[in-house]
Symmetry: C2
Subunit: 336 residues, 2 copies
Amino acid sequence: MIKVAVDAMGGDYAPGEMVAGAVDAVNTQPGIQVILVGKEDVVNAELSKYTYEKDRIQVVNATEVIATEEPPVNAIRKKKDSSIVVGMNLVKKKEADAFVSAGSSGAILVGGQVIVGRSKGVERPPLAPLIPTEKGVSLLIDCGANVDARPSHLVQFARMGSIYMENVMHIKNPRVAIVNIGAEEEKGNALVKETFPLLKECRDINFIGSIEAREIPHGGADVIVCEAFVGNVILKLYEGVGATLLSKVKGAMMSDLRSKIGALLVKPALKATLKSFDASRYGGAPLLGLNGLVVKTHGNSKANEVKNSIIQCVAFKEQGINEKIRESLNADREHE
Amino acid sequence: MIKVAVDAMGGDYAPGEMVAGAVDAVNTQPGIQVILVGKEDVVNAELSKYTYEKDRIQVVNATEVIATEEPPVNAIRKKKDSSIVVGMNLVKKKEADAFVSAGSSGAILVGGQVIVGRSKGVERPPLAPLIPTEKGVSLLIDCGANVDARPSHLVQFARMGSIYMENVMHIKNPRVAIVNIGAEEEKGNALVKETFPLLKECRDINFIGSIEAREIPHGGADVIVCEAFVGNVILKLYEGVGATLLSKVKGAMMSDLRSKIGALLVKPALKATLKSFDASRYGGAPLLGLNGLVVKTHGNSKANEVKNSIIQCVAFKEQGINEKIRESLNADREHE
């Protein structure tokens, strides 16, 4: 049994969609127990709407909620009885294997480091979402709060990302590339130029060189390494351009009667195709390199993404990702 | 009469599409003369296919071509008779008002600074393409080669971009924002945190604060300020995500008979709508802050984009953008 703590109070659609996703997860996937963390009465009221095996969902009370706009360091320190702090403490005390939250990114990143704690040898834990591509998915690492990263951090990101893609997503010998403004080795800013030769020397990854942003949606690499500012821009622009284009396509289809009839005919095929480009299918983003698993799902997650984020924890735990990361990074350290 | 020198040899479809675009420009817009720079015999052979007023297109011979993969500094120094060097010298000697090229970005950026020269007071000339948004277009400044920029550079970019959008695109009091990973003032990397207060103090721009990448396609600001590495990622990801999504939409529409019939009905409306999201409509990207105008068009430009890039030079020249930039930046300098 794998135990996943879920933040019932975080996210735009909490607690309703968080609870619904938890129920869906236990009803879909055997071998999972969920611990819903949040205001007991509210969570129980939601739970009473569903049918599920009672012993597979437990509620742990947390009286406080950290809001998205709260300064994260302060929030984690002061709100000891918030769903994020209580949930992360369950992971710390090994009462849960993982913690899934759609709440404040900042608080999750801070809490992950402060409460769950960095794994030995990890300099900075990166937030690594899966992004859809033409060919499947790629891991974008780092999209967290580690701005102004150093080359050694990026090398660790490359390694952790490789381990994740190989073991959780089952991509053999994943192609690792660094985001750059040209394909040539001599291009880039100071950080990329310093990191490039270090990645080239790295024997335990399949480094294929630079990747230009244009190639990311085409699936040009499996693990896309960058510092968090650039990662954040990529992740959010992906969403923004996608949303704008799709709304333009929809608008065009509704613009006159002829188009409306055409849209009815096209709709089923279009829906199926675009679903493959929908980030929510792939669950949340793991915060890698911690003494336990923390997964951040989109703030606007609905039940389906919550369910997928919970199920994702199974492969992570079963494959022993944390142990593999620890081994890899510390083996490296001994060589130095 | 405004004289625009055009690099007949640069770009994926040179010389054919470059020459076609030049002919279209003089046939569409009065008051323009074009100087086609390149291998005389090749250019004349292309020109002989078209009808146009002979005295409005002139050919200037240049025997060499700078390839995209050549190291730019070296290429500009050694290939004195290349179309880029010859064309830029025409601007330097005031024999042309502007130079338009679809050739090597690196060589154009280097040549602009070395041959045409920076305008007094300009620290770094930024490359500033227009990108399509839901509401129209925004100026993305800088997408050039100025990686690892300093806060003072970004402030100049904000000012130059404002002047451009106000006078060339006729957007009154353009909204200026800096690309950031959150909307709050305290967020961001070191560069953004240092630049933010400087932009706030700047009285001659309408600074509206941070913009997250997600809001860029929605048209959240008119002038989008960032350093070139981030700008390059934004520009190329815009193209990449757009291309991938549209190919997915097209694929879906061709997937079965029902969809194919629907696609026929939807096509006219869809085409018209998506055209508004097509970067080529807006011509090339000016390299701002030089002693003359240099415009970089996409490497894969066809006649239409070349034509628009040439026509764009008219407004730039007529509005005296260079003079306005010089005044603005030097007025500032005197205050210091």
